[in-house]
């Protein structure tokens, strides 16, 4: 857990690079104009996760899946559909979490996935199987992907506050078409709102149909030999990073993030708290500044803050307890398996 905290602090440190939004003071910009706007998120994510994967393929020289498991893919599809219906409670809970988190601007899909995954793990009868192929974990994380987009539509339509990049684009499209988000979208323009709801449902059905249709060629991609993928992936990594602000510095950020990602994996440090802190850092600073400006230090004693702090402490205590239980279970299993191996 301490590693997670250290990585989160590092992420916050990275998030605060750039001009101070209040006083305009450059912070850790090292006289580089590029850094005045802060570290771009896209090259960071691309490098942190994609860079590490590409280097892995270059080192291992094998395909992504390692083995050809595509022969029985249709059997897998029917099993997947069946298991989704069997775990309808997980689907329902994760979807509700996705909608709830999607409504909060700035939190994004990855937070929804982690929360839903954690909830599914806590409520599961076999929490020790999570991370080892437990289908409930996959279902929980997957269920949030569409639910959070639907949730982010609520503040966009009702208040004109976009929850993320996609809804920000949608909001600008509303304004181009002369639609004014707010009360009108829920009264006089309700038909437009409902047509959007139906479009979202129809689009999901079409997407699932296409996925069923192309599942076999798509799974074949994972058995392509690694060296054939390397030039292709490097091209996409560099182009993806560069498009953030059409600057060579984006590519440098991507490679720096890839180095951090590889170091994290090599020495077993978590990347996700780092990324979450980078994403939420500027928001946290803005609201800290607002709270301090309005209430001074007395904001720490407000009931809402105390309740949130208690929730955080309870969550951390519970997480520590689960982790200790897992360690104890692993400790009990290891000598037995070692004994079995020696026999």
């Amino acid at each position: 857990m301490l590693k997670g905290f250290v990585m989160a602090a590092l992420g916050l440190l990275v998030a605060l690079v750039g001009l101070d939004p209040q006083a305009g003071v450059p912070r850790y910009t090292f006289d580089q104009l590029y850094l005045w706007d802060g570290i771009a998120l896209v090259p960071l994510v691309v490098g942190l996760f994609g860079g590490a994967e590409v280097l892995h393929i270059m080192l291992a020289k094998s395909s992504i899946s390692g083995t050809d498991n595509t022969v029985n893919s249709y059997a897998g599809i029917t099993r997947g559909v069946r298991e989704t219906f069997q775990h309808w409670r997980v689907v329902g809970k994760a979807s509700a979490i996705g909608v709830g988190i999607g409504m909060v601007p700035g939190l994004g899909g990855s937070v929804a996935q982690f929360v839903a995954y954690g909830q599914a793990q806590q409520s599961s009868k076999h929490p020790e199987e999570f991370g080892k192929g437990a289908i409930e974990g996959v279902i929980a994380a997957g269920s949030t992907s569409n639910a959070k987009d639907s949730g982010s539509l609520i503040p966009t339509i009702a208040f004109g506050i976009p929850g993320g990049a996609a809804t920000a684009v949608l909001l600008s499209a509303f304004l181009i078409l002369g639609l004014d988000p707010g009360k009108e979208m829920l009264t006089t323009e309700l038909d437009v709102t409902f047509s959007m709801v139906w479009v979202a449902i129809f689009a999901n059905i079409v997407a699932v149909a296409l996925a069923f249709l192309f599942i076999r060629p798509l799974t074949r991609l994972t058995v392509i030999p690694g060296p054939l993928l390397v030039p292709f992936l490097l091209f996409l990594l560099i182009l993806g990073a560069f498009t953030a602000s059409n600057n060579y510095a984006d590519i440098a950020v991507m490679f720096a993030a890839a180095a951090i990602g590889v170091a994290c994996l090599r020495w077993d440090w978590p990347r996700v708290p780092f990324l979450l802190a980078v994403v939420l850092g500027s928001l946290a600073e803005r609201y800290l500044f607002l709270s301090y400006s309005i209430f001074g230090w007395s904001w720490l004693m407000r009931p809402g803050v105390i309740v949130l702090a208690l929730v955080v402490v309870a969550a951390l205590t519970q997480a520590g307890r689960i982790k200790r239980r897992a360690v104890r279970a692993r400790t009990a299993v290891e000598p037995l398996s070692r004994e079995r191996e020696t026999r």
């Binding site: 857990m1 301490l2 590693k3 250290v6 602090a9 590092l10 916050l12 440190l13 605060l16 101070d20 209040q22 006083a23 003071v25 912070r27 850790y28 590490a52 994967e53 280097l55 892995h56 270059m58 080192l59 291992a60 020289k61 991370g131 080892k132 060296p227 054939l228 390397v230 030039p231 292709f232 490097l234 091209f235 560099i238 182009l239 560069f242 498009t243 059409n246 060579y248 590519i251 490679f255 590889v262 994290c264 994996l265 090599r266 020495w267 077993d268 440090w269 978590p270 990347r271 996700v272 946290a284 500044f289 301090y292 982790k323 200790r324 360690v327 692993r330 400790t331 290891e334 000598p335």
Partner: protein
Amino acid sequence: VNTTKQADLRSDVVIGVALMLLFLAGLWASMDWPFRTALFRRLVTVAGAVFALLFVGTRLVAMRRRGTDAVTGIVPTETSPEHGAEDDEDSRELEYVYATVGRAAWARALGWVTFFVLLLPSIGLYLATAVFAFSYLRWCACRSWLFAATYAALLCGTFYLLLEVLLSVTTPEAVLW
């Protein structure tokens, strides 16, 4: 196994100390800024330094305990509570590959990436991809000349048609292209 765990603990200590120094440097730099500009930065750096210090402390204690156990002949079976920071199959596989490949493989992989990065500002993304694809497939993946050339031409051509001609995506500028 014991030596590996001891090495892991040592690397944890080194990384922890490096991060602690980074946080302290961040705190020191924020001393010149106005209070409101520096407020969040100071909170973050102080918290980061404290967490890093705690982490280094726990690792040092674990190292000492492990050392004592090795002297007394007790092989510790306890799994570190910090082990498996990203406890999923993909991360474990990546961690395994990174930990087990030799220095030569690392040097080769990083050399190829450097080659691509050096080509990029000289001849542009499309040509750099073609040259890299051909060289990588021919000399690293040991494919035939014909296969490597065909693959490189197809890859570069497809990307050029799709991104440059159809979508007009901006790519990094180069000296020669």
